[in-house]
Amino acid sequence: MADIGILRAAIAPVRRLWRRPTAVDVAPKAGDDQDARAHFRDGLAKRRGGNSAGALTAFERALALDSDFADAVMARAEILDGMGRSEEAHGEYERARRLWSEMPPGAADRRYIFRRQGYFAFEAESYDLVRTNVRSKILPQLAHGNACLARGRAAEALDSYERALKVNAKLPEVLALKGEALSALGRYQEAIEIFDGVLATHPKDGDTLNARGIARAALGRLAEANEDWRRQFDLLPQTSSAARACVAMRMANYSAAFNEFGLALAKEPGNPYWLLYRLTAARLAGAPAESVTLPADDHWPTLLLAFRTGQATEEALLNRANSPTRHAEARFQMGVLAVDGNPAAARRYWREVVDQGPPALIEFAAASNELARLGA
């Protein structure tokens, strides 16, 4: 074990260079995602051209390929409404809103673009139109880039941010977003250099500290990452309990995470991730278990909670872990379950999280810190 451990520790930084460099997890492509977007784009163009019937057909084609494509659901609803089919439209409006609201919100400690819920296909197309007509301005490029980045299209986002920077090369907000896009593309060192520049002039920029921490952690520079997160934590006001909780969880400061997630739950009692992380922090901090009532739904976070509380099996969990993010979240919880009785197994699970999971995940950082603590 000792030899293997030394070897692993020696090659760990290099291994990360060989990792699949996904930092932003995207919904699994059904193979038709791009086609659905193409039909959606076609529908928007037809709608703008006054061809409501053609637009309706195009949106329906998009939905045939991806029935949960909320932007297309909403666009179809507006067309139906305008055609006088308002009864039919009503259900579609509600469905679109529900689909958007059911999308997992991002970690509360991250920059605003990662905390939003949506497909942002409408926004990407709309701002593409705007930037074609409102030239040499920052907002259309920025908003287009944000829409792309939020949906995992980091290369397009980077291009948009670079166009915004051509208008004003020194804007720290846009530079930071460029760094986020680079990080999402796995170009962590470049991202860090950008973040260094932003923080040199704006040392209290908590969002950029968080982002640099993620990039540093992705490169195995865990101590530096923790230092960034520690500074971010100190800068966050007491009222930002959710953000503070998420940062604490990354740093494996479970007692702080436990307390802050408690405060966050008081404000958002329906947030399943806050409950999950609070229970997880309690377990890892050695606090007594709380009894919980699970939400009555079959959403992914509820399954994680069920597993956390012993009400779901590993198999059931892994059967639904159909993305790198879900896989990492599942493996992390398996490690938490295993750590007391079988630290080696926990180590394996957490190694998987670090080797294959998106570095932006809270679980990635927490697993990294757990591995360091266990001496893996």
């Binding site: 809103r97 958007w100 907002l139 908003a143 915004a164 846009v174």
Partner: protein
Amino acid sequence: MFSVILYGRNDSHGYNLHKRAAISFNALAEVMSDPDDEILFVDYNTPDDHPTFPEAIHDTLTDKAKQVMRVLRVRPDQHVRHRLKTHLVALEAQSRNVALRRSNPRNRWILYTNTDMLLVPRNEKESLSDILGAIPDGFYQVPRFEIPEMLWEAAFDRRDPVGNLAKLRDWSVRFHLNQVVHNYMPMKYDALGDFQAALRDDMFAIHGFDEDMILGWHCDSNLAARLALYRGRVDTLVDKLFGYHCDHTRVAAANNKGRATRMNDQDRFIWNVATPYVPGQAETWGWPDVEIEEIRLDRETPYQRYSAGLDKAIEPATMPFVETSLEWQLFDDLTYDLPHTLPFVCDQVVTFPRSTNLMLVATRPDFVSSFAKAWKGMGFTGALLIPQECEGLPPDLPGVERAPFAEQLASAELFIFEFGLATQTATEPVRAGRQMGPIDKKRLKVAERLFKRAAATEAETRPEGRRVPRRFIGVNVIYNKFWHTFTNYVGANINPFCSQVLAGLPREDESLKGKVLKFRGRHAL
């Protein structure tokens, strides 16, 4: 559930503002059903001697509108630091932020709109509270539909919101009113500022409206740009409600000069916005450290305060009428009817902040004691400053502070100068040819000297931090020898003789005569 935030002032913005606003306030209240719902109206920079706009139109508001409305009054002295930077007399960003800071923290939503909008739920059984209570977190807008001016002016009953909403449902179909005007993102629709629903938490997170926007226009687009970045999407509620605007272009509003209109820079505040936040105002937006008066229309109204004050000071009349005269031979007669005059004096002060310190220079002891009772009865907590130089006045009146005039001048925020006869009794006839006695002359001379000095040095003797001039109220200064004295120094309107009261701000007269007057006043010559 939600706080509606509006702003305005007691002036004539656009055409028939009073009717439009009453229609709108009543209609907004009508679609509220949650006990925490509120209408926050920021009355911005109405002159101190005017009531706020909602107070001025209170009789055209429904009981429900009066119950849900909180009026936040921003005084001219609180606006004056912006006066040199803008041509506008009412600032949107500052107003909306003042309200946001003081909005009900139990409310999830903030709804920004304007004082001429009607919001019509498409499902008649749903209130706006129901609608906002059911939707997910987000940032929502609706398209604005215009109502031709003659429709709202000729056919709406401002006190019948239920009827007005029903009429709109009918007209929208008969007259094809519902036309959605799309716009580029992030605006999404034209005239977006007439319905922007944002989470209260989001508004606090992004530091409110950008208070650098002081030239008018595009505050709504800037908000949309920033919230669109923050939230990612600009969602619609067009399936839930329609928004109608009482069109008002017969007469251009003060901020509408057609192509010559000055406005906030669109590039800076829309197209080059790079962040949702305004960190430069993170601690100061909405003036958290400034005391903003709150006025309610359903309790402690100005009328209730006014009548409570007078009831403390005067008894009801026992005769059907009293008499006076302004025949020319009576010019030197300085008698006046105190119970008749006091209501007009109180009328001049009741709109001022309750904490106002008022300097009272008077000669009639009974005027001083009556006014002091009325002042306290009207709920004023500020001091009545009576200079020691004014002799023969009642001692130990509650709320009165006596000190040398020069020491009190810099504390006074409002002035009353009363020029009566110290020896007038309550029962003697008024304006019947009475002459001044030696005591009267002596007291009046003091009053006149103090008045001239106060008026001539007003700009230099203001309380610390005050930048707007102080108002002077003259009592018994119409059609007698003090008429010219008072109006030489104070720019007062022509008032009816029987009110006995003139009021205004110190005159700024750069002519030779003006300079001489000022010199003489300053040195009490």
